[in-house]
């Protein structure tokens, strides 16, 4: 059952990645579509990251005691100032793990 799940997931994910790379697929992208698609990466990556930061335990957590929120704000500042992916990720993750282990009495945060 697990193996069947893995095989079917593999197919779904691969098809979603490959489909529009296939030249025989009749598809013409006009300037409107390409402009729309140019917002794909920022919109999608934000939509994945935001719930992790704002609802780490499934509920809206806007308090200063939410380490996800504080570290994310730090990451935004660092990314804006340095434009350096690795530096931003490493420093904000370091700060996060310190803050998070201080408040480690909380229940395990849920994923997404």
């Amino acid at each position: 059952m697990i193996w069947l799940t893995i095989i079917l997931m593999t197919l779904v994910v691969f098809i979603s990645r490959y489909l529009f790379l296939e030249p025989r697929l009749p598809l013409r992208l006009g300037p409107r579509t390409t402009q729309f698609l140019s917002y794909a990466a920022p919109a999608i990556l934000t939509a994945i990251a935001a719930p992790i930061v704002f609802l780490p335990e499934g509920e809206l957590a806007l308090q200063v005691s939410n380490p996800y929120l504080i570290s994310a704000i730090l990451a935004i500042g660092l990314a804006y100032l340095t434009r350096h992916v690795l530096f931003t990720t490493v420093v904000s993750m370091g700060v996060f793990f310190v803050l998070h282990s201080w408040g480690a009495h909380t229940v395990g945060p849920q994923l997404f």
Partner: protein
């Protein structure tokens, strides 16, 4: 003649190595996520082999983590596949964006780079115009991410057998930190800022009300907000792959 062949091989090799190097920060950043995918697989009742197989074949962080949670809570196969499709649907958009870059490549290249086309690889290659696309560079980046992801999964499986509750460590903050580091420097226009803010508010709202298609809804609304605000502020329309078509 032979020196020319050599030069071309050198060129390919250096493009490949440059791709590897460009993807290193992102590869490091997905390690905590991969650790989680490995340890969480065991907690959800998969064997180590099954957990590793998921990273080898599926190679999709968000999908794997969400599905592992569903397997752990005994969800049905149909529900799992629908969620997989919803979460992975963003890759249709990546594929469309990369069409101008990749559709003229030979089949084996399209299959390989298509398989490797993750959020991170798209962030590396999709932000450049098709003329600057280099298959060897993309392959180097993609393989770096693939190997990093699978080694981290393996480490997570091994560590998960020793350290219980690894999911309480907050490893998924690594996901957020990486994506922030990728998105923020790219906000150069008001319209991109509007897209990001819309996606942020919508995704948080959907999560709050536990709407399962939240990721898709938030992404599409964010992209629409980008287009509309670009028109509203009459930004010059200069998408990088304009005019690229079949």
């Amino acid at each position: 003649m032979s020196s020319q062949v050599l030069t071309q091989q050198d060129y390919r090799f250096s493009a490949f190595m440059l791709g590897l190097r460009a993807a290193l920060p992102l590869t490091l950043a997905i390690i905590p996520w991969g650790l989680l995918a490995g340890s969480f697989a065991l907690e959800s009742g998969l064997t180590g082999l099954e957990g590793q197989a998921m990273s080898i074949f599926v190679f999709a962080g968000a999908v794997q983590l969400v599905v592992l949670g569903m397997i752990g809570s005994k969800a049905g196969l149909g529900a799992i596949l629908i969620i997989t499709l919803l979460i992975t649907s963003r890759h249709f958009l990546y594929g469309m964006s990369m069409r101008g870059h990749m559709q003229q490549l030979p089949l084996r290249w399209r299959l390989i780079l298509g398989f490797l086309l993750t959020d991170e690889l798209f962030a590396l290659t999709g932000t450049k115009p098709p003329e600057q696309f280099n298959r060897w560079h993309a392959l180097g980046g993609g393989l770096s991410l693939y190997l990093g992801w699978n080694m981290a999964t393996a480490a997570g499986i091994i560590a998960g057998q020793q350290i219980p509750n690894m999911d309480a460590l907050g490893l998924e903050f690594a996901v957020a930190a990486t994506f922030i580091a990728l998105v923020v420097p790219g906000i150069q226009k008001i319209s991109t800022l509007c897209a990001v803010i819309t996606a942020l508010l919508t995704s948080v709202t959907c999560e709050l009300y536990q709407i399962e298609a939240g990721l898709l809804i938030a992404s599409v609304l964010g992209m629409l907000a980008g287009v509309l605000s670009a028109r509203l502020f009459s930004e010059p329309a200069a998408p990088h792959n304009e005019g690229q078509s079949t």
